[in-house]
Structure formats: structure tokens, C-alpha cells
């Protein structure tokens, strides 16, 4: 493999892995902040027990999200140094602001939350988790602003003398229209994941506590509460995901028509295009063996009009040559070098885009359906979901939206190819020239193995804590003596 492919694989592996922990961190910090406030306000023991229990699951995940995030930050310079040189003026600023405004807040206030039991005033202590949560949102905002620039470069000009893209309007970068739909889409899907983790863990423990002779039978109401809380969050958030996803589709069609066409494997432009639920064929548009299509849905998704016209890959491809020529006319031949790539056919991997798009939507809708179903079967004063099938539902609950997220990211990042910055710089031109294939192989192997080991450790630890369930209630001392044991210590 050449350095570009290797560096892309490494970025894909480390990013998808990192993004398993990010939505859990965002979503669970919100749930823990809610239960903590519920405890302070109601003094009902189950809220404190749930806060501590879910807090442990949260910190287990936060640890991995943090360490894998540092890898992401270093990787731009390590593997993509020419990209860093080209866009550092624009891309670096949100990254630095993410650290300054978000990471400090998250790390410091999480330290206060973890070690603060009995050490800081109760209300302030509950507030620290809200600060952590706001930190996760800020972090997501800045990193998505940086990513949105790659999807839709705005607020810059090309400087032929320095050979780089230079910022002209920071507000435009922060309020990029791609960003304004990507951020709510990602955040609501993170809430879906957080809700689904609580829902899955809750239903599993509820079912177990409801078994005849269970030692924690008294905890049934608490786990029921957690389950329904998680399910409500998942369901509400999933509605937000659908709405924002719909708007995003239209903006994507506008700024990255090729990505939308690839998502549908639509080769020829079509008026009133149908949405393909499943197409079996060659996927290059020449052969269609079997297809299920919903009429006019794609046209509506892409343009907001059921009779709208969706452009096909072949037409967009014809325009790509024009686009590169246009870049050359506007910015001069130097940028054309940056922009063009003689090997590129200016289209992404269509089967990959087609299937990841479907998996994202399918798993997302399945998750939404599961939360609705769970709320329905547990409504009123109904008994616990004791059927064996609910074990599988508990396992599936967090995985469905989590993998929907992963496929969404694979779609949005690979769908941009061969562009690193859409219409401005190809991926092949962004890679580090001084880094050898052997070095990238080394790092890719190291990260893959290390991440695999950590995944096993974290999942086993997570399951162990879930199986243990919430700790018994202890009334916290409000003013512990100087030499009393700490309520929390390593």
C-alpha cells in the first residue's frame, strides 16, 4: 500500500474507534448531570445510586475517549503534514480553541466531580457535571467546525505566495451552513447513544431484578425508572436526528452533490427520483438485479420537492473537470496543482457510500423503534419485560445507535473523497512527504493492537460494573471530619 492509503486507513481506524466513546461521553454526561440534580432536589435515594452507578460507566468511557482524542490531534501533523501546512491557518484555530475552551473545562471539572463527594458544596458538586457536559458540547462544536470546513470550505482565500488557504472570516467558518446542520445532527445522535446505553443497561438490570428470588428485587422501581428515562431520551433525540438529517441531506446535495449521488448509487440524473431501500446489482449503474424503491423519496430528501431533479454521478463527474478548470481560472495554476490530481476520477467509492448510508439510517431507525417499543410495553404499571428476548434487546440497544454513528462518519468522510478539502485539496496531496511507509505501518499496527486490547479491557470492565449494578444507598455525610476516610479515593 502507498503512504496515502495507509495514512487513510490509520485515520479511519483511529477515528471510528475514538468516535465510539465520544457519543457515550456526550450522552452519558447529560444523563448523569440530570440524575445528580434529581438527587439534590428530591433526596430520593435511587437518584444518588443511579448517579454514582452511571457515573462509573461514564468515567470508564471518558478515559478512552480522552486518550484516543490526543492521537487524533497529533495525527494531523504526523501523517498529514502537507494538509496541516495548507489549512493550518484555518483548521488549527478551532482545534486550539477546543483545547482551551473545552478540554480544560472537561478534565478539570470531571476531576472535581469524581473527587468532590463530601469535599465541595452539594449544589456546586451537582453543577460540575453540567459544566463537564457543556464542555463536551463545546468540544464537539469546534471539532465539527473544523470538519465542516473540509466538507464545505468557506471564510478563506487562497494565497498563491504562501501556497496556503488563509482565513478571511472566522465567523463564516464557525457558522458554516454544513456545520449548522452537522452539529445538531451529531449532538442529537450522541444523546441517542447516551439514552440507549442507559436504556440497555436499565432493561437488563430491571429484568434481572424482576426474576423470582433475585437479591436486588427491591431495585426494580429504580431500574424501571432508568430504563424509561433512557428510552425517552433515545426517542426524543432520534426525532431530532431525523429532522436534522433531513436538512443535512438537502445541504449536502447542494454543496457536495457527488456525495449524495454516491449515497444512492445514482448514475444518471433523475426527476422525482425514488429512494432505494435495497438494490442488488453491479452498483456501477449498469446492471440491476433486484431493487426495492420508494418512489419520489430521494427527490424529496435531496431537494425538498418530490418532483425535484437529483443529479447523477456521471453528470457531476463531467462537471468536475470544469470545477478544476474553474479553480485554475480563479486562483491561478498553483492551486490547480493543489486541487487536481491526475489519477483521481473525482468520485468516491460508491458501494461504500451506498451501504454505509443505508446502515446509518437503518440502524438509527431500528434504535428509534426499539425505544418506542420499550416505552410502549412498559407503560403504566405494567410488569417487567421478563421475556428472554429482552436480553438481546438490552445488548442491541446501545449498539444500534453507536454503529449508526460509525457508519454515518464513514459515509461522510469517505463520501468526500478524493477530496481532503472539498474542491480544494485532494487527499493524496495532504499526506506527510517525509514519513515513510514503514513508519505508518508501525504506527497503524501499534494503534490497532493497542486499541484492540483496550477495547477488550473496557468492554469487560463495563460489563462487570453493569452486572454488579448500583451500589447500596449510603446517606452522604455533609461535613466529614478532617481525618475521616475520603468518600472517593483511588
Amino acid at each position: 500500500m502507498d503512504p496515502v492509503d495507509l495514512a487513510r486507513w490509520q485515520f479511519a481506524i483511529t477515528t471510528v474507534y475514538h468516535f465510539l466513546f465520544v457519543p457515550i461521553t456526550i450522552g452519558l454526561s447529560f444523563v448523569v448531570a440530570v440524575t445528580h440534580v434529581a438527587w439534590v432536589r428530591t433526596r430520593r435515594p435511587e437518584w444518588l445510586r443511579l448517579t454514582k452507578f452511571l457515573g462509573k460507566l461514564f468515567t470508564i468511557n471518558f478515559a478512552l475517549g480522552l486518550v484516543t482524542g490526543i492521537v487524533q490531534e497529533f495525527q494531523f501533523g504526523m501523517n498529514w503534514s502537507d494538509y496541516s501546512r495548507f489549512v493550518g491557518d484555518i483548521f488549527g484555530a478551532p482545534l486550539a480553541l477546543e483545547a482551551l475552551l473545552a478540554f480544560f473545562v472537561e478534565s478539570t471539572f470531571l476531576g472535581l466531580w469524581i473527587f468532590g463527594w463530601g469535599r465541595i458544596p452539594e449544589k456546586l458538586h451537582a453543577a460540575t457535571m453540567w459544566v463537564v457536559h457543556v464542555g463536551t458540547l463545546l468540544s464537539a462544536y469546534f471539532i465539527l467546525a473544523a470538519n465542516s470546513f473540509m466538507q464545505n470550505p468557506v471564510g478563506f482565500r487562497y494565497n498563491p505566495e504562501s501556497g496556503r488557504a488563509e482565513m478571511t472570516d472566522f465567523v463564516a467558518i464557525l457558522l458554516n451552513k454544513v456545520q449548522l446542520v452537522a452539529f445538531p445532527h451529531i449532538i442529537t445522535s450522541a444523546y441517542m447513544v447516551g439514552g440507549a446505553v442507559v436504556m440497555g443497561v436499565g432493561v437488563w438490570l430491571w429484568r434481572r431484578a424482576a426474576q423470582p428470588g433475585a437479591s436486588d428485587a427491591a431495585d426494580v422501581p429504580m431500574y424501571r425508572k432508568a430504563t424509561r428515562l433512557g428510552a425517552v431520551l433515545t426517542l426524543v433525540a432520534s426525532l431530532g436526528v431525523v429532522v436534522t438529517g433531513d436538512v443535512q441531506g438537502k445541504i449536502m446535495t447542494e454543496v457536495q452533490p457527488m456525495k449524495m449521488a454516491a449515497a444512492e448509487a445514482l448514475y444518471e440524473s433523475e426527476t422525482g427520483a425514488g429512494f432505494s431501500i435495497l438494490t442488488i446489482g453491479s452498483l456501477d449503474g449498469t446492471e440491476e438485479v433486484f431493487a426495492i424503491k420508494v418512489p419520489k423519496v430521494l427527490a424529496f430528501m435531496a431537494t425538498g420537492n418530490p418532483n425535484g431533479t437529483v443529479e447523477g454521478i456521471n453528470e457531476i463527474k463531467a462537471r468536475n473537470a470544469e470545477m478544476v478548470a474553474g479553480i485554475e481560472r480563479t486562483y491561478g495554476p498553483e492551486v490547480a496543482v493543489v486541487a487536481s490530481d491526475s489519477d483521481a476520477d473525482y468520485m468516491p467509492n460508491v458501494p461504500l457510500a451506498y451501504w454505509t448510508f443505508r446502515l446509518m439510517m437503518g440502524l438509527g431507525f431500528a434504535s428509534m423503534g426499539l425505544s418506542a417499543l420499550l416505552l410502549w410495553v412498559t407503560r403504566g404499571s405494567r410488569r417487567a419485560p421478563t421475556s428472554r428476548w429482552w436480553v438481546w434487546a438490552a445488548v442491541a440497544a446501545p449498539l444500534l445507535p453507536l454503529f449508526a454513528n460509525s457508519f454515518g462518519w464513514i459515509f461522510t468522510e469517505t463520501g468526500r473523497q478524493p477530496w481532503l478539502v472539498n474542491g480544494l485539496m485532494t487527499t493524496a496531496l495532504g499526506v506527510s512527504p517525509s514519513v515513510s511507509v514503514a513508519e505508518i505501518w508501525t504506527s497503524m499496527t501499534v494503534f490497532t493492537l493497542l486499541y484492540a486490547v483496550l477495547a477488550v479491557v473496557e468492554v469487560r470492565l463495563f460489563l462487570r460494573y453493569v452486572a454488579h449494578g448500583a451500589e447500596p444507598f449510603h446517606e452522604p455525610e455533609s461535613e466529614p471530619a478532617e481525618d475521616a476516610p475520603l468518600q472517593f479515593s483511588y
Partner: protein, 346 residues
């Protein structure tokens, strides 16, 4: 003062903050096998584990925030000096890979060690914490010293050396010095934060490691003065040396806060000497036909730097305020009797 120069200083400040803060938690991690032993013959392994827990709890609320200084330093380099960030991170590919691995296993150890009541589990994570705490400052020292020493950059700022280029005597020495100074700094932090026998032993360790640090520091700072010896560099190395000597003297005299502040000054003096020695370059080249990266040719546009400056002006004081608050909240000395039964799952 123009913006690039301001950001050169700010990046120096961020690195200094990182070394001062994470320096002590690296030191505490490195000292786990030294101070986290059975206190004396006849005591059980449980007592040793309690000591380790005290040590880790002293840095518990802080180490994560300390590490953000590194993340911010790297992010600020990316934003303010993209060429510096790009050249440095691609040139130091393998050392930085090793640094990432060290930080990952160490952080996981700090987060996961106490999460299971199982000796094998704890021993493994202890090894991760110790290994990471030694390797990380070594690699940071190696990389920063290499920057000051210069690396082969061609006319396009691209690194043309290999791993062998980076493993030179001054840089390896720099790495060792950073480890030793972390240990001394960490021992003084423990003397300040722990109570009981651990406090007394930490002071003894600080004395011994301080002497070793002094020997290494004389070599490193001597090399720095010998190769880049301008008057300000000499002055800063004197400040660094004074901090180290002062720290040891203050520790002997029982002035623990002063001693810790003094080794913080050593870090600050060392980092400042590095950056002053660099100026006006940010990454000099050792190739005759190469181009050195300088504050001017590596910088972003004034607009980016201006936006970042406003953000730094507003948010750095806020960060410092709430960071100071955490040190205030967790100011109490810790001792083994503070270690209650932790919430462990077998």
C-alpha cells in the same frame, strides 16, 4: 511586539505550564515502586497498596487537566505556526508515537487501576503507570532538545533525517534530565501533599533524586550554554539551577511549598532557556542548503493570530482560576488513614 512573536512566547508558556504541572504527576507515577513499597519489614502488601493509593490520589484530581496543557500547546502550534507543527510532528514521528502510547497506557492505568479488586489487575496497571510516567517526560525532553539542537530540514521545511538523527547525545541526555527533574519535582509534590511516613520518605527521595538531577542538569544546561550561549540563556540557566538548589535546601528546611515552587522555577527556567535559545528560529535546520523554520516564516496570518490572542486573553485567566480552585479544594494533606474502602468490583 507583533502577533507571531506574542504566540512564540505563548507557546513557550504553554510548554512551561505543561512541564511544571504534568512534571509532578509524572514524578509521582515514577515513584510508585519506590515510595509505594511496604513501609517496613513485617507490614503487609495491603499497606503498600494503601500508600500507592495515597500517592495516586494526590494527583488524582489534577493529572487529567495537567495533560490538557500538552494538547493546548500542540493545538496552538497548529494554529499559530502550522509549518512548525507540521514539520515537528512528521519529523518526530516515532518518538511521538511512543509518547502517545506512553500517555495512553499511563492514563488508562490511572483511570482503571482502582476499578477492580484484583492484585494482578492492579500490578499490570501499576506497570503501565510507571512505564508511561518514565517514558513520557523522556520523549518530551528528547523532542524539545532536538528542536533546540536543530534537525535536518530541507528547503521546503521537510525533515530529511531518520530516527537515528534524533537519537543523539544531547537529546538523550535532555530526555534523561527531564525524567530526573520530574522525579524530584514529583517527590517534592508528595512531600507537600502527603502526610505521615510517606511525607518524610518523599523528602528523602527528593534529596537523592535532586542530586542526580543536578548532575544531569549541569550537563544539559552546560551544553545549552556552550552551543547557544547568549546572555539571556545564561541568566535563565542560572535561574533554573538556583531553583533546583533552592528546592533541595528548602525541602531540607521543611519548607515544602517553597521547595515545590522552586523546582517549578527550574522547569520554567529550563523551558524559557530552550525557547530563548531557539529565538528567532522555531526549528533550526542543520542542513547547509535547508531552510530554518522561524517565527516569521512558520506563522499563520495576523487574522488567525489575532482571533487566537483574544481567545487566549479571555480564557487563559479563566482556566487558571478554576484550575487554582481545584488545588484549593483538594489542598488537604492525604494519609493512609484517608483511604477508605474504595468502590471496587471484584
Amino acid at each position: 511586539m507583533d502577533y507571531p512573536f506574542i504566540w512564540f512566547i505563548l507557546i513557550g508558556v504553554l510548554w512551561t505550564g505543561y512541564l511544571v504541572l504534568e512534571g509532578f504527576d509524572f514524578g509521582v507515577g515514577t515513584l510508585l515502586p519506590v515510595l509505594g513499597r511496604r513501609p517496613h519489614v513485617g507490614t503487609g502488601a495491603a499497606e503498600a497498596d494503601k500508600r500507592r493509593r495515597v500517592m495516586l490520589t494526590t494527583i488524582g484530581p489534577h493529572w487529567d487537566g495537567n495533560e490538557v496543557w500538552l494538547i493546548t500547546a500542540a493545538g496552538a502550534m497548529f494554529a499559530a505556526f502550522p509549518h512548525w507543527y507540521a514539520s515537528m510532528f512528521s519529523a518526530f514521528y516515532l518518538p511521538l508515537l511512543a509518547l502517545l502510547v506512553a500517555l495512553i497506557v499511563r492514563n488508562m492505568g490511572l483511570e482503571y487501576r482502582h476499578k477492580r479488586d484484583d492484585d494482578t489487575w492492579r500490578q499490570r496497571w501499576d506497570a503501565a503507570i510507571i512505564g508511561g510516567s518514565v517514558a513520557a517526560p523522556f520523549l518530551v525532553g528528547l523532542s524539545l532538545t532536538n528542536i533546540v539542537r536543530g534537525v535536518p530540514l530541507d528547503a521546503d521545511f521537510e525533515f530529511v533525517g531518520s530516527l537515528g538523527t534524533l537519537l543523539n547525545v544531547p537529546s538523550l541526555w535532555g530526555g534523561a534530565t527531564f525524567v530526573a527533574l520530574s522525579v524530584t519535582h514529583g517527590a517534592l509534590f508528595l512531600a507537600l501533599k502527603a502526610d505521615g511516613t510517606l511525607r518524610a520518605e518523599a523528602r528523602q527521595v527528593a534529596w537523592r533524586s535532586g542530586l542526580a538531577t543536578a548532575v544531569l542538569a549541569v550537563g544539559l544546561l552546560g551544553w545549552l550554554v556552550g552551543t547557544q550561549g547568549s546572555a539571556p540563556v545564561v541568566a535563565l540557566t542560572v535561574i533554573a539551577a538556583t531553583g533546583l538548589v533552592g528546592g533541595l535546601v528548602a525541602s531540607r528546611a521543611g519548607r515544602e511549598l517553597l521547595a515545590f515552587a522552586a523546582t517549578a522555577l527550574t522547569w520554567a527556567g529550563t523551558a524559557a532557556a530552550y525557547f530563548v535559545a531557539l529565538h528567532p528560529a522555531v526549528m533550526p535546520t542543520t542542513l547547509s542548503g535547508g531552510t530554518s523554520l522561524t517565527i516569521e516564516n512558520a506563522a499563520s496570518t495576523p487574522m488567525t493570530l489575532q482571533i487566537m490572542s483574544i481567545a487566549a486573553l479571555v480564557f487563559v485567566p479563566i482556566v487558571l482560576l478554576y484550575t487554582a480552585y481545584t488545588y484549593w479544594v483538594f489542598r488537604r494533606r492525604l494519609s493512609t488513614h484517608h483511604m477508605g474502602a474504595p468502590a471496587l468490583v471484584k
